[in-house]
Amino acid sequence: MNQVPDIQPPGFFLRFFRWYCDPSIAEDIEGDLREMFARDVSRGGLAKARMQLSFRILRLFRPGIIKKIGHQPSFNRSSPMFKNYFITSTRSLLRNKGFSVINIVGLAVGFATFSLISFYVYNELTFDRYHQNADRIFRIVENLRTENEELFQSTSSPPMGPHFLKDFPEVENYVRLQQWNLLAQRNDISGYERDCYIADSTVFDVFSFKLLRGDRKTALREPFSIVLTKSMAKKYFGDEDPVGQTLKMDYDNYKVTGVMEDVPENSHFRFSNLISFTTWSRNNKDAEDRQWFWNGFHTYVLMREAESADKVRAKMKDFLTRNIEKGGMYYEDLPLQPLTSIYMAPPRSWENGTRGSINNVYILSIIAVFILMIACFNYINLATARASRRLKEVGLRKSLGALRRMLVAQFLGESLIVTFIASLIAVLVAWIALPAFRTLVESPLSFSILPDSWKVLGAAFALIVFVGVLAGAYPAFIISGFQPLQIFRPSARGIFGHHNLRKVLVGIQFMISITLVAGTMLVYDQLDVVRNQELGFDKDGVLVVPTNGDTAIVKYLDAVKNELMRVKGVSHVAGSTSIPGQSANNLYTEIEMTDGKMSPTNINYIFVDHDFLSAYDIELVAGRNFQRDVKADDTTAFLINETAVKDFKWTPEEAIGKRIQLRSPGKIIGVIKDFHYRSLHTKVEPLMLAMTTYVRLMSIRIESDDVPGTVERVQSKWKELIPYLPFDYSFLDVEFDRQYKADQQLGKVAGVFTGLAIFIGCLGLLGLTSFVVERRTKEIGIRKVLGASVSSVVLLITREFIWLIGIALVVATPLTWYLIERWEQNFTLQAVINPLRFVMAGLAVMFFAWLTISFLSLRAASANPTQALRTE
């Protein structure tokens, strides 16, 4: 053959070939390849030859040529060898009980927290998915433009649903809902049902709520029909059959036409009963057909196909111009929110039900991954540190002909055994911790939300294998990579060369710990700022009792208030339609602008009585409060807040006397200081106060050291005055703080898991120190013989870790800073990030690390050196 010995074939493909080829046939085939390559070179040039060679090698990659996995002509085929692996692994685990316990406990706690948090995150991310048509249901929401601002509302007006159905062939059905708060009464059982919803009779066609009794087509057709949930039926009817019976709610008698399953916990809004829509619409026919700007309803539409939402969106402009006149107020857009996204979407105004926070989901996920990482790093660190113990075993195996691959398999198997044991313990731990976790995250987390059990098991198995391989891979490759000669030679240099990786891993653990500690402290800082924020009103010591517009109270309001005022410890009594921290009414109003023209807008209202400002200690900036002796105030006087004044570009003094057209004409008589009448997450919006006697809530300010006693006295007075109305009181500050439930939860959860992370990290540190101490026993002995003090020896061991904490602190600071800054953007008022917190976190972590380390190093340092040196 023509040989061109100078030209070598491309090495990469040959290496690839050698890697995959069955070694028993590799030699001659490679020879053939080289021969053909040489011939190609002499014939057609180098480039072409190379290409053909690589092409050939790729075509050789086929069964029959590739080496068979596990079918090596060697002894690892036999089951005795596997048995041997298993025995040696178990023995080594048992011999180093301390290390094994640290590894297993760390991983178990890691797995348990990871699975609990995953459960929670899964729950949060799968809200409303249980509806059969979940992907076809959308909520109509509004971007409403008024002359002064753009409002993003979750609500829509009554004609929208029907017109969607009429105008868009893609829409199959719709349902309108509105939340009512009614006082339900039957025999001597009464209670406020805050989650009554009126609903179109189509509600059961759109949503998959399960109707247990009654007919889904007709149940909500007639006015004053009501469908109860199972638990509400039980509350008012006990074991009786409620269907066909009547239930008094406020002043009307409702006929129970059905009973349904309770609304699942993972729903973005939940209700205790559904009332037929006709109950409302029979007297409001005109509003239902024409009030395009009365945005008091939540409308859900069912599309024929999930994809057709885009088609509908494309035709929206046309729909708006066709149906709705463009006045001073008009719709910029009517977006369609997919049902499954509502729970996590940024809240619009007038949301129904509860909302989750995607930020919290992110933060918790990060914490879960962090904790698992810390546990994995523990395993890697301890396994590599311990490797020296296994060197003889490895050396012997290698001398007897074990391939590297087999050793890798052995050590990977070992880490899989450890992870598997850990996961079993984790199941137990998670099971025990689940009730506590449920209270911690304040979520029922029922198992029914989980997908098929085989999917869960599969995911768990995948996680175990993933963690096992992740933790085991590096030690396996390190240990199996040692050369037998190197192992048996006493100067085993290079074996401990993976010190650096260990340092990096410990450093990362410290970094994570510092991030978590500092992050938690900063979260609490922010929550403190929120809690202590200047609200513009005094929220402490206010007792709130609902009356739901009870006619007797409305009629004899002043008398009732006077009676309550006489109770010892009560300083103010005020009535209103809503209270700070709750919602307000958003109403269509015309306001006189500076140029004298009336301008239409939607503005928030709270209707109050004469004592509202004084009871809540809200300050007046200009003008006057409502006055009892000015009879006209009852209907024609308005107070306005500073934000509104600023929005309209007035000075407070200019605002006085401006004309207002609500239902009847009136005038602004005063300007009040801004107060947070809604959440602190949202900015203070323009607000008007007007007078009413239709009181839904009584606010009773208590100024007394004996709060429980006063509450009791108020209650007995209440029973005396209005025995039929339940005294269903709450404290305003408690109610107000409830708005930050999600944030406070986050603080608590972060605190708990930070503790856990530090615990696992310290476990690893304990193991590592014990290893270091063990290895340096002789060194410490000699140092002491030569006159080293205990403290200098302790310092010797701890110095390394202190360094790492320092570096970790430097890395963790900007990271945490960035994350917390992002999170704080959720709040209108943000806490200043206090750099001192990082120092504190660093010190805290250092304290725990030092405690862990010095426990062992002190023992080593104070031991009698003869003990250490006599061992041989």
Partner: protein, 110 residues
């Protein structure tokens, strides 16, 4: 004799190994087939078939001397075993028998 079914390509490879006698190694076999039958043979296809035939016991192989060419890799020479040659023989006879059984009239006049 249905136990010893040879595929078309297997048969060609075995025939080439027979033809080349003592000189039948990878590249030579490829050249032989390509030269005689004017068809492309990939080394991947050839090597799999060679190993398969060896496993069935139709072929046997041994390494040649190491030389400086071919990157110092030895050649593997294949030769027919007794079983292999018998199978080849049988295959040929089966074909011939069938060919002879075709009645003359079945061949269209050209």
């Amino acid at each position: 004799m249905s136990r010893h079914q040879l595929g078309e390509f297997e048969e060609i490879v075995m025939l080439s190994v027979g033809i080349l006698y003592k000189e039948a190694y990878g590249v030579a076999i490829i050249d032989e087939i390509e030269g005689r039958l004017n068809r492309k043979v990939s080394i991947g296809a050839l090597q799999t078939v060679l190993r398969r035939l060896e496993n069935k016991g139709y072929l046997t192989s041994e390494f040649g001397e190491a030389t400086n060419v071919r990157g110092g890799k030895r050649k593997r020479y294949f030769s027919l075993t007794l079983l292999g040659s018998r199978v080849l023989q049988e295959t040929k006879e089966q074909r011939m028998e069938m060919f002879r059984a075709i009645p003359r009239v079945a061949f269209p006049k050209s």
